[in-house]
Symmetry: C2
DNA sequence: TCAGTATACGACCAATTATGTCGGCGTTTC
DNA sequence: GAAACGCCGACATAATTGGTCGTATACTGA
């Protein structure tokens, strides 16, 4: 039903949290989990996935934890979602490689692929920074305007 | 993971099928299901939902079935999805009415609501007609261009 | 070098949701 | 009145997600 998984949600929250604290060297999974009241072990796994995807740098040992591997501005929501939930297709036939069983019958797939790309584009145009900035509504000077064109 | 349900997919396929046959008075659920090789009873339920939502007109009895209740051009993909899967929220907290348990902690909800609206806008800008037309690539004269603006 | 704190990873279970089926009932047409 | 159809709710099953556990490994500092 076109919904983000909780994992992706958690991942975005965590990254936003990190983006809001650029001064800190690293934050442990537990720190972040506690801040939001989400299961620590689950978040740990998510952060590990993001690390593997190259969005975070991790450091074990005391005072270890995670830190953004790039500028918050350079990390898109799309990358986060992709890293956590894998490549997404709006279409139900996620067979990825070579289409699904009903490929000949389902004539709706192709137009929806355009929609898929459009949504991906929207997500790509949003950075963690955008999410973090939104936190401070007093500033309000900075507005992001993403323009997306969809051609069927 | 931001994916359409099969029901919604089936629903869109069925409507497209109807849109491609404007001359026919009505098509039974079974006819359409057979055409695409999808479970007839399941499709029947979906079509019933679409009828309740006012997108289709139904007619019982012999030679009964379903027909579009409006011009294909006037039915958006959004309406179809909404009718089948209920109101959609990108955010995982679908508690609808009054937010979720973590509302104070989850600071990401609001910016994502914008994204949600953007996607809804894209879906609203696509009509069943658009899907049906795409079938005939020889015509190719008619292109739809939806422009969506996202402001965070 | 040892205790403490942290990530890494895979297996596993639990909860939820999506998908599909069944049976009975109401309606329309022939 | 019987065949062909829609209508509805309750179920059963399958798939996905969400979350836990156990253990191994890495780093730090005293
Ligand atoms: S459902 Fe598989 S091609 Fe559309
Ligand atoms: S998870 Fe509920 S408000 Fe974001």
């Amino acid at each position: 039903m076109l919904k983000l998984t909780k994992k992706a949600d958690y991942g975005l929250m965590a990254l936003k949290y990190l983006a809001e604290r650029p001064e800190t060297v690293a934050l442990s999974a537990k720190d972040i989990a506690d801040a939001y009241g989400i299961p620590a072990q689950l978040l740990a796994k998510i952060l590990q996935q993001l690390t593997r995807a190259g969005l975070l740098r991790s450091h074990a040992g005391m005072n270890g934890g995670y830190a953004l591997s790039r500028e918050a501005r350079e990390i898109s929501a799309y990358e986060v979602i992709h890293a956590i939930d894998g490549p997404f297709f709006i279409t139900s036939c996620t067979k990825g490689a070579k289409g699904c069983e009903l490929t000949p019958s389902c004539t709706i797939k192709e137009p929806l692929a355009r929609v898929n790309d459009t949504i991906a584009g929207v997500l790509k145009s949003i950075s963690i920074q955008d999410l973090a900035e939104h936190e401070h509504p007093h500033g309000r000077g900075h507005e992001v305007n993403a323009l997306v064109s969809l051609t069927l």
